[in-house]
């Protein structure tokens, strides 16, 4: 099946091509996204402007507020814009547009206007881009009512979820992990979309449940492999949609094992894991055999030096240690 392997980047590119071919109202814009600019610095949007024209696929000025504003307005007027904010840190420049407008216009208008936009953002420590290029802000977006926050863990998952976001009628923050761009996996089925709000059991197990998302799914799987040698079986839940998240799947999976670890690359304190952990404790207090453990980055900026950066991102050892804590 080697010929069926694709990178995440290819999967994203294919998903965008498919979506644009399917629906004329889809627009793509962001810095360098058109083909004269090489379809983005990583090539995620390569080929789109050649196929669909530079009216629908536009390279923008470096103006993140205007980019998201253009997305909001066109979405309200019935288009389905896919705006790219190159790196998640740069979304801070457009935070007003995202949070005070995109997220709220449906609510503030009493349902008269919808904002079906997708904001693609990339992030992820690992390439030495340091403090201003590697932040994880999903907890912010999840805390913001009205946004949907989505991320994939494999090329096929990424493609299916991205298309679901594009065709969803709400503003979606779609998070792409930069180091994962060049990782390979099974190619997505053509035409496939993955429903939002539904988690996936990435691996079955009966001793401990790890709830996670994005690149940490593979880390959790690696941790599970490690523990399988000791006959400890680990269930891995891939959230896919971080908000609104799939409480039923998570709670069922944890109820089954009575033990849980929540893990993400983002800073642990006040992170997404805190919400998941709290709800698990609230709902399954009597069934839990140990307190839920959280794995995440320390409360620091992402450091540059390889020596420090690699200690910043939680690895399988940290997940294994957290799992062991629940087994004590």
């Amino acid at each position: 099946m080697a010929q069926n392997k694709v990178t995440t980047l290819q999967a994203i590119n294919t998903a965008l091509h498919e979506a644009m071919a399917q629906d004329d109202s889809i627009l793509v814009f962001g810095e360098d996204v058109a083909d004269p600019e090489e379809g983005g610095v990583n090539g995620a949007t390569r080929g789109l402007s050649t196929e669909f024209g530079e009216s629908r696929v536009r390279s923008t000025p470096i103006s993140e507020q205007a980019i998201i504003g253009a997305a909001i307005g066109s979405a309200m007027a019935g288009m389905r814009p896919v705006a790219e904010i190159m790196l998640m840190n740069f979304s801070t420049v457009a935070m007003d547009m995202i949070v005070n407008h995109a997220a709220k216009l449906r609510y503030m208008s009493g349902g008269q206007t919808a904002v079906p936009l997708t904001i693609r953002v990339t992030t992820g420590a690992g390439f030495g881009t340091a403090g201003q290029h590697s932040d994880y802000l999903e907890a912010w977006f999840a805390h913001t009512a009205g946004l949907k926050v989505v991320t994939g863990s494999t090329p096929a998952e990424t493609a299916g979820l991205l298309k679901a976001c594009i065709f969803d009628d709400d503003p979606c923050i779609f998070i792409e992990n930069l180091p994962a761009y060049w990782q390979k996996g099974e190619a997505p089925e053509p035409g496939q979309t993955i429903p939002l709000g539904k988690a996936r059991i990435a691996r079955e197990g009966s001793d401990v449940t790890v709830v996670t998302y994005g690149p940490q799914v593979a880390v959790a799987e690696a941790a599970a492999e490690q523990l399988a040698e000791e006959k400890i079986t680990v269930e891995v839940v891939d959230l896919r949609t971080i908000q609104p998240w799939d409480r039923d799947t998570v709670l069922n999976a944890v109820a089954k094992t009575g033990r849980a670890v929540v893990s993400h690359e983002a800073v642990r304190a006040f992170g997404v894991g805190a919400e998941i952990s709290s709800v698990i404790h609230e709902e399954l207090f009597d069934q839990l055999r140990a307190p839920v453990q959280r794995v995440g980055a320390p409360s620091t900026a992402v450091p540059y030096s390889k020596a420090l950066e690699s200690a910043f991102v939680p690895d399988a050892d940290k997940v294994v240690a957290a799992i062991r804590k629940t087994l004590k």
Partner: protein
């Protein structure tokens, strides 16, 4: 009155007055009902600025879009937002444009083209670009107007929006209502340039500096800009000079204002001035205008009365309209 070569025909001149008197009387009633305690709300009065949206709106159709700001009730009325649901929204009632969820700073009424009312300084512009972008991509002839204040011309969103609109030749008109203050701060103290219109040059965009209290001059400026946008020739920046009579927020102690400037501006109230001109030039009789005014006043009073009797939203409304399909938001 600057009798421009392009004086519009009578129907338009009367229509402008209709819009102005609607906005002026609506404001008078709003201040009254707030003072009476019957409808408490934080109110940003646009009294004194009526000419601008009246002159802009007679150049627009129902299909054209506007994005306006907290001080935009005159813009909304000129564009055709209906009084009943507008007032019900101001009163926070279930029958309001936004079911009471938006309130005065967030009136939305897509049917009349009022797409966004925003409370964040500068944010009408990037969203207006997006509406215009949709029209451009679809090849529609629709025009979008972004209203904003003078002080908003110092915020980043202004810059990004005008640059993008110009680069993409978007069908948008940026209308800056320069009332010489941003909250309590005088224009000169916060703005490095003398004329905001001159900032157009920084975007290779025509910048029109106009007396926004002069209906004919304002009409001509708006017409030129709307036609340019509609013809696909790109955006225009209009700086319309005006004045707000009732401070930043209605009820503020206006100690920060130049008293003489304020008195002079109020004495030169553009609405009665235009009324007199219409009569003097024979476009309307005093009686005709009085009738129009009375009828307008009645409609506004009826809308207010209706709003005050309208039902409050049910508490369940707190949790709806968060997403298209309601996940539990509780």
């Amino acid at each position: 009155m600057n009798q421009a070569s392009s004086t519009p025909d009578k129907a338009v001149l009367i229509d402008m007055y209709r819009k102005m008197t609607l906005a002026k009387q609506n404001d008078e009633q709003a201040r009254k009902v707030i003072m009476s305690g019957k409808l408490p709300m934080i109110y940003y009065s646009p009294r004194g600025q009526e000419v601008i949206p009246a002159a802009v709106s007679v150049n627009l159709g129902a299909e054209d879009y506007i994005c306006t700001i907290y001080r935009g009730i005159h813009d909304m009325l000129a564009k055709g937002v209906p009084l009943d649901s507008l007032w019900a929204e101001l009163a926070g009632r279930a029958t309001g444009t936004c079911k009471g969820k938006g309130g005065p700073m967030h009136i939305t009424h897509p049917e009349s083209g009022c797409m966004v009312t925003t409370g964040i300084v500068g944010s009408s512009m990037p969203i207006a670009n997006g509406l215009a972008l949709a029209s451009q991509v679809r090849g529609e002839k629709r025009v979008t107007v972004a209203y904003f204040g003078d002080a908003a011309s110092n915020i980043g969103a202004f810059h990004e929006s005008l640059n993008m609109a110009s680069v993409w030749k978007l069908p948008v008109v940026f209308v800056c209502q320069n009332n010489r203050y941003g909250e309590h701060t005088r224009f000169e103290k916060a703005t490095a340039v003398e004329r905001i219109a001159d900032r157009g040059a920084a975007y290779n965009m025509p910048g029109i500096h106009v007396d926004g209290n002069d209906p004919l001059a304002m009409y001509a400026a708006a017409k030129e800009a709307v036609e340019r946008a509609r013809a696909g020739e790109g955006p225009t920046l209009i700086e319309a000079m005006t004045f707000r009579f009732y401070g930043h927020v209605f009820g503020d102690a206006d100690g920060y204002m130049d008293k003489a400037e304020k008195e002079a501006a109020m004495a030169a109230d553009p609405v009665p001035r235009y009324r007199q001109w219409l009569i003097d030039e024979g476009y309307a009789s005093d009686d005709e205008l009085t009738t129009m005014e009375d009828e307008t006043g009645k409609r506004i009073r009826a809308a207010i009365d209706g709003a005050l009797e309208a039902p409050w939203p049910d508490e369940s409304e707190l949790y709806t309209d968060v997403y298209v399909n309601d996940f539990s938001a509780a």
